[in-house]
C-alpha cells in the first residue's frame, strides 16, 4: 500500500479558513487547545463600515445609569 503525500497547512489563532463553503475561525479553547468556530466579526470592522463608534462613558451613564446590574456578566 502506497502512502499519499499530505501537505499540512499551518494555521494560527485568528485565521479564517473556509471548509466546504463555510467560514471558520481558529480560536483558543479554555483549556489551551485550539478549535474552529464560526467567525465573530469584531465591532471595529463593523464600525469601519457603518461609521459608528462606541459611545462615551458619559452618554452611557446618562442613558443607563439608572439600570440595575446583576452578578453574572
Amino acid at each position: 500500500m502506497s502512502r499519499m503525500a499530505i501537505s499540512v497547512r499551518k494555521l494560527a489563532v485568528g485565521e479564517i479558513v473556509e471548509v466546504d463553503g463555510r467560514r471558520y475561525e481558529v480560536v483558543p479553547t479554555r483549556d489551551g487547545e485550539l478549535t474552529l468556530e464560526t467567525p465573530i466579526t469584531p465591532m471595529d470592522e463593523l464600525h469601519a463600515i457603518d461609521g459608528a463608534k462606541p459611545a462615551s462613558a458619559e452618554d452611557f451613564e446618562r442613558l443607563s445609569g439608572h439600570v440595575p446590574y446583576d452578578d453574572e456578566g
Binding site: 479554555r30 452611557f60 442613558l63 456578566g73
Partner: protein, 132 residues
C-alpha cells in the same frame, strides 16, 4: 423603531445583519435558541412591551463596559426559564445619534463547558479575542 433609554433620553435598538447571522443563524433553523431569539427580536421591534434591561458589568472576569443585556425569552430572569441572553453596546452613529447595537446572543450558563457564554462572545466581538 424600538428605542430604550432613561431620564427622557433614548437610543434606537439596532440588530445589524452580520451580527445577527453570526450569533443567531449559527443555530439550526428550528432549534430552540434560534426560535427564541427570533421571537424576542420581534417583540423588541414591536416596541409594545417594557424591557427588563440590565447593565453588563464594566469590571470582573468579562468586563463589558458600555453594554446592556436582555434575558431571552423576554420577561424571564432565572437561568432555567431564560437560558439565553442578548448583549447590546451603546454606539454613536455617523449622524451623532446614539443606538443600542446588537453584539451577541448565546447561552448565559452553558451546560457544555466547551461552549462560550454570551458574555464571552460579546467580549470577543468588542475586543477581538476571548477573555483570558
Amino acid at each position: 423603531m424600538p428605542s430604550a433609554g432613561g431620564g427622557g433620553l433614548s437610543a434606537e435598538i439596532v440588530f445589524g445583519l452580520r451580527p445577527w447571522e453570526e450569533e443567531v443563524e449559527r443555530y439550526h433553523q428550528l432549534s430552540p435558541p434560534r426560535i427564541r431569539a427570533q421571537n424576542a427580536r420581534k417583540m423588541i421591534e414591536a416596541g409594545d412591551r417594557r424591557l427588563d434591561w440590565l447593565n453588563c458589568r464594566p469590571d470582573g472576569r468579562i468586563p463589558l463596559p458600555g453594554c446592556r443585556k436582555l434575558y431571552v425569552p423576554l420577561g424571564k430572569q432565572a437561568p432555567s426559564e431564560a437560558p439565553y441572553g442578548f448583549v447590546f453596546l451603546l454606539v454613536q452613529r455617523r449622524d451623532s445619534s446614539l443606538a443600542w447595537t446588537f453584539v451577541a446572543f448565546g447561552e448565559r450558563h452553558p451546560s457544555n463547558p466547551k461552549t462560550r457564554t454570551v458574555y464571552e462572545r460579546a467580549y470577543k466581538r468588542i475586543n477581538g479575542c476571548y477573555p483570558a
